[in-house]
Amino acid sequence: MTQTPQDLPGWAHDAMLAVLARADTERLKAFAEPLIAQLPEIKVLENRTGLVMLPMRDTAQGTHFHLGEILMSEARITAGNQLGYGMRRGRDLEAAMAMALVDLAAALGVAADACVRFLDAEARAQAQADHDTLCRVEATRVDMETF
């Protein structure tokens, strides 16, 4: 990779990847597919399912231990001296590839405005879903009285 990968305006790389990893599957695929025509020739390095081990920190003694493994789909592609990467939960290889295409487009500065619009919309949807969940959780807040 000879050129420095670009970041989308207003989007740090980690925030962009986190939104893509949780983005609605069908919307992500629909958005990513037309990007192929706008990108230089793409080489697929990896597109597979596999496991990610998830460790946790024990609060009693501070020990790191393994909770278990999570099925993930991964895609790794290159084009125009840049790399695109996708990793999402589940066994949907197309969705991982779609994430990698958006990551690659962002790194190359291809369709940047469209990518930002897509990410903004997905981020809003995810934030709204979290907000709704947490408002339902807050409804169960309990104030204990002791007698």
Partner: protein
């Protein structure tokens, strides 16, 4: 124990498997999707015990085995071995959890407060038999609060440590593939703490409950109080090839701390698992609390509870007893007949003349 190879019965075996599967009929994507959406807590239990998190695979395993949990978990553990390990995520910390339920039985005013979250703890247990008469049961919707609960909550144990009630836990610099892993190395005793907690995370719920309950009833050294119980979602933080660390999604996790007075300080037991399964983590944390100094062979001794709560091994050992043991059983019969014959011969000997 001796084994003998047996032949024969191929047709019977084939037909017996068909008979088992015929009971369940066709397995369709719709059936799998329905199991996944209708039974999230069963899915969670299966994923935790299989140590493999994927709701679709867990639902498929349940559909394929007709809900025979040990078979479902065995299927998933077997399938897991076909997959490469892509990476090890960053360790999850308690205060980073997207929290749905957080309660304490030890302190009513914990920092951040208590949210009951989804629970039937205070429900009337009434079977909705009207459904069987053709009526659909529609649960009442939640009345959401105007403001959201904080997504992330501080650690009760950290607050207790700051107030001198608990010893502060030490930082652990071990990460990635350096964290001891019982899927890649044997479980030896005394067990590494990482092995103990991983074993409990994937342990069989019923086994953990039985032994944890024994400790809670008095067959242990310490009576537990739930210090903090959480049902939450954890971010799976991985590394992009460029080095960026990002969340590749969330998974449901449960964690429990139980506390007990030990000398002038509090002792803390801990357990966590994939999925939401609070009975399991409370019972497992009770075993962790009681493990130190437990008598050999007791329910709370580490070797005892770790060996006997591994569901695939224990169920496999149990069901192997129904497989042909003709040689061993004949050997037992031979020994029994021999003993009888010797006793009879001894009885027949004439009494010596007086």
């Amino acid at each position: 124990m001796a084994y003998v190879a047996t032949r024969g019965g191929e047709r019977a075996i084939e037909q017996s498997q068909r008979l088992f599967r015929a009971e369940m009929g066709a397995i369709t994507p719709e059936r799998v999707a329905e199991i996944r959406s209708a039974m999230p807590y069963l899915i969670d239990r299966v994923m935790g015990e299989a140590s493999l998190y994927d709701e679709d695979l867990a639902a498929l395993a349940l559909a394929q085995t007709g809900g025979e949990l040990y078979e479902a978990i065995l299927l998933l553990r077997a399938w897991r071995t076909t997959q490469p390990r892509l990476t090890v995520a960053d360790p999850v910390t308690q205060d980073s959890l997207f929290t749905h339920r957080r309660i304490s039985a030890a302190f009513k005013d914990i920092p951040g407060g208590q949210v009951l979250g989804p629970t039937l703890d205070y429900a009337h247990r009434i079977l909705a038999t009207d459904v069987l008469s053709g009526q659909t049961y529609h649960p009442d919707p939640v009345d959401p609060a105007p403001q959201p609960s904080p997504a992330r909550q501080p650690s009760v144990a950290a607050w207790q440590a700051e107030n001198g009630l608990l010893a502060k836990s030490l930082p652990d610099a071990t990460t990635g593939n350096d964290i001891p892993d019982i899927t890649r190395e044997p479980l030896l005793f005394p067990a590494k703490r990482a092995h103990t907690l991983q074993s409990l995370a994937r342990a069989e719920t019923g086994g953990v409950l039985a032994l944890g309950y024994a400790a809670q009833r008095g067959y242990g050294q310490a009576h537990p109080t739930v210090n903090e119980l959480r049902l939450a979602e954890a971010d799976v933080v991985v590394q992009h090839p460029r080095g960026t660390r990002f969340s590749a999604g969330r998974v449901k996790v449960s964690q429990a701390e139980v506390v007990s007075k030990q000398g002038s300080e509090l002792g803390l037991g801990f357990a966590a698992t994939l999925g939401w399964n609070e009975v399991k983590v409370i019972a497992a944390a009770t075993l962790d609390l009681n493990a130190a100094g437990a008598p050999k062979g007791s329910a709370t001794e580490e070797e005892f509870f770790l060996y006997h709560t591994e569901g695939v091994e224990s169920s496999g050992f149990c069901i192997h007893f129904k497989l042909p043991h003709y040689v061993t059983f004949q050997s037992s019969l031979d020994a029994m007949r021999d003993a009888k014959a010797k006793r009879a011969a001894k009885d027949k000997q004439p009494e010596p003349a007086e």
